[in-house]
Symmetry: C2
Subunit: 444 residues, 2 copies
């Protein structure tokens, strides 16, 4: 992306008309520092190569917390941790096979939080649907004893992912309510590489907990072809996953205190944890790199905005959101002093804009980025998510292939610069984004 284009993007987020004179010069300095020093990619490399997978409560998670604390301190900041109690879920062995009408291996991976199958697995005929709505239209006696397969391909990018994410997160309980014995979802991914994509899933309190896994796109296609050919496909699924007692992890926090209104907070956040399959490079070492580089650049350039810039590297975004929940609870009295929350959790691509959720007069109401910050919504904090090029993001998202090579250091530096400029502008702006309106009360 051309330098001018980045600076043009920067024009967007300033909510007030009172744009300080020195804005453009500051933006140039930030951009120069981000591109020349490549700090975001360096941080991301340290986290993904040097620590690797870091699912909540794992040794990698603990190492990531120590690393972040060390690196932020090395920037000359007072970094601290805030304790978060996190779930501990361990994947274990996992496998699946078609056992009739042919014998074929299936490539599967358990969804985060799934219960295990018995050691010999669960065997059942597959009932294939393309949506939760379709499933709801099927009589329970046709679902009972079946393994439900949610099979719909997604379009590239966040829009495609968001449209189908419910099949993964809510599908298992929807299927269980109708008597299904296990739930499979076609991987929410966009690459033909027989890659299974894991991800979060939530059991409803009113449904039996059945084992839930993602299946590679190729294998969902195979099941579909065999169903078309033979009318029935029988599958055995074995998951050895396990939920252990909760463990202690932490949000890592560091601040640049504001020069005029230090009590007002611009929060910039990313998540430190990752799934266990890859090394969590695009999700979310890239975002951690962006947030940490924002602090590094402003600190090294001596840029002190009006308000306090608070970086929060959240624990347990992937399988529980306990880090964000804990932050929202612990800091509830302070939330009215959060003027905006910015999030970097959209990969290693070039910046393409911002998703802004604010009150009337806010720029736009986009919901593509649905990560940590919904939990801050209770405090009605305006939210700004960094949008990045995402055409390939879901090729690798939540898979073993989420590794550092997927990050283009130059693109990430541009995103870091853009993010830092916006953060600075929001912390500097005499005005603030209007707060979102409270959610409408449901009709009685």
């Amino acid at each position: 992306m051309h330098r001018a284009a980045i600076l043009l993007l920067v024009a967007l987020p300033v909510a007030s008309d009172e744009i300080p004179e020195r804005h453009a010069a500051v933006a140039e300095r930030i951009l120069g520092a981000a591109l020349a020093q490549g700090g975001a990619a360096r941080f991301a490399e340290q986290l993904s190569d040097g620590i690797g997978p870091r699912l909540a409560g794992s040794p990698g998670d603990a190492a990531a917390v120590r690393w972040a604390l060390d690196e932020l301190s090395r920037l000359g900041l007072e970094a601290r941790t805030e304790k978060v109690t996190v779930p501990v879920w361990v994947r274990g062995e996992e496998s699946a096979r078609i056992v009739a009408p042919v014998e074929q291996r299936l490539v599967v991976t358990a969804l985060g939080g799934s219960v295990a199958t018995p050691p010999d697995g669960i065997t059942g005929d597959v009932l294939m649907v393309t949506s939760i709505e379709e499933l709801r239209g099927i009589a329970a006696d046709r679902v009972r004893g079946k393994i439900v397969l949610f099979n719909r391909a997604i379009a590239p990018g966040f829009a495609g992912y968001s449209a189908s994410g419910g099949m993964r997160s809510r599908g298992p309980s929807e299927a269980a309510r109708l008597g299904a014995v296990a739930s499979l979802v076609r991987s929410l991914g966009t690459l033909s590489a027989r890659l299974p994509h894991t991800g979060g899933m939530r059991y409803a309190s009113d449904a039996p907990r059945i084992p839930a896994a993602a299946v590679a796109a190729e294998d969902a296609d195979l099941i579909q072809r065999l169903l078309a050919r033979d009318g029935a496909v029988r599958v055995t699924l074995r998951l050895g996953c396990e939920t252990r007692p909760d463990a202690e992890s932490a949000n890592v926090i560091a601040e640049l205190p504001g020069r005029e209104r230090p009590e007002e907070i611009v929060l910039i956040g990313a998540h430190l944890d990752s799934w266990d399959l890859g090394t969590g490079a695009i999700d979310d070492a890239a975002g951690v790199g962006i947030v940490m580089d924002t602090l590094r650049i402003l600190k090294s350039q001596g840029l002190v905005p009006r308000r306090t810039l608070r970086a929060v590297l959240f624990a347990n975004e992937e399988n529980g959101l306990r880090g964000a929940r804990s932050y929202a609870e612990e800091h509830a009295p302070e939330l009215p002093r959060h003027v905006v929350a910015m999030e970097a959790d959209a990969g290693g691509g070039r910046p393409v804009g911002l998703a802004v959720e604010a009150g009337p007069g806010g720029l736009e109401r986009l919901t593509q980025i649905a990560g940590l910050f919904p939990l801050l919504a209770a405090g009605r904090v305006p939210r700004v998510g960094l949008l990045q090029e995402d055409a390939h993001y879901f090729d690798w998202h939540h898979t073993a292939a989420d590794t550092f090579d997927k990050i283009d250091p130059r693109a990430l530096a541009e995103s870091a610069a853009f993010f830092a400029i916006v953060a600075f502008a929001l912390a500097e702006d005499p005005g603030t984004l209007p707060r979102p309106e409270p959610p409408a009360k449901p009709e009685p």
Copy 2:
């Protein structure tokens, strides 16, 4: 591809000037039958979906032989098997980890024929090279005790693959001669999907047999970055593979007897076996489909060429070439009556031309397709390989992702039509391709 383009490609292979008048009409009929009935993709689907992996000597291999025999008989042909004694190699458990300077999982897969490691694995420092030549320039005392990593990315297509294949097939013995304890090769693949690509490997008789595996491209990159950062990387490799006693498999053969010179043979071949990781769709269910559909089309259209068209579905191409060797031995007296051998082993893509190896006056001398037929060269049989679009072939070649969805039925039908037209033309042509010259004797 446009119909006219396929018919234009057909103009190429006819070696003699005496092109029969009816040629163009025949080509049109073959093309129509291939496109309308999609037989090649149907055969490929049956083999890859219905049987799946079929490494020599495995239950899948035996099922594939039975299937081919049944399907060819169903076409009204007298199909037969010729016994081939094949090696039996079983993959077993396989894993690898970086153990220093960080802990990271590596995605690996054993190369076909590799010996196992001890149960606790082999641990050693990595010595990275980018070619066999570079390795040869290193003193043995720097290689002794090391795990050699051959790390060079390949360009897309067969040309890129051929240029680097030696690292996989000969690298392990080259490393062992200098005292290495194990050999890793960067996957010979072109997709960033953390996919390990297996493949054949041959131990030299004068070198110790050391375990040999392919590592995903991402993991080769990680090792390279860590070497650059820390100077040393220590890896533990565990392979549980095993070579069992030889087993019996078979080449499957069926013919369309020639109308004038039945004793002269145009051989059309593909290989029935596959690697164990995927379902062998592009390698080589697609080629099997092309060869079988050639017989189906000519038979159903009542097209009987001058010479005999003999289809051979070879056993054990992937890890031993015993099917081709056995054929060359058994049929040695007949080889002078083989006027040409055509091969389909280049995936499911559209046809783009032919690789022709023949004597002076033959069309071109291309060596991109180096599959079964070198073994027929002793009999100096002219060889013609089908060239297909290959920009993505090495995305999936020899991986778990080699599955039926990678085949575009329309593209494969075009390739089958092209192959069938060329086979018919060569069997019909009153003249023949000149035979290749005997290989030059090495200088004394």
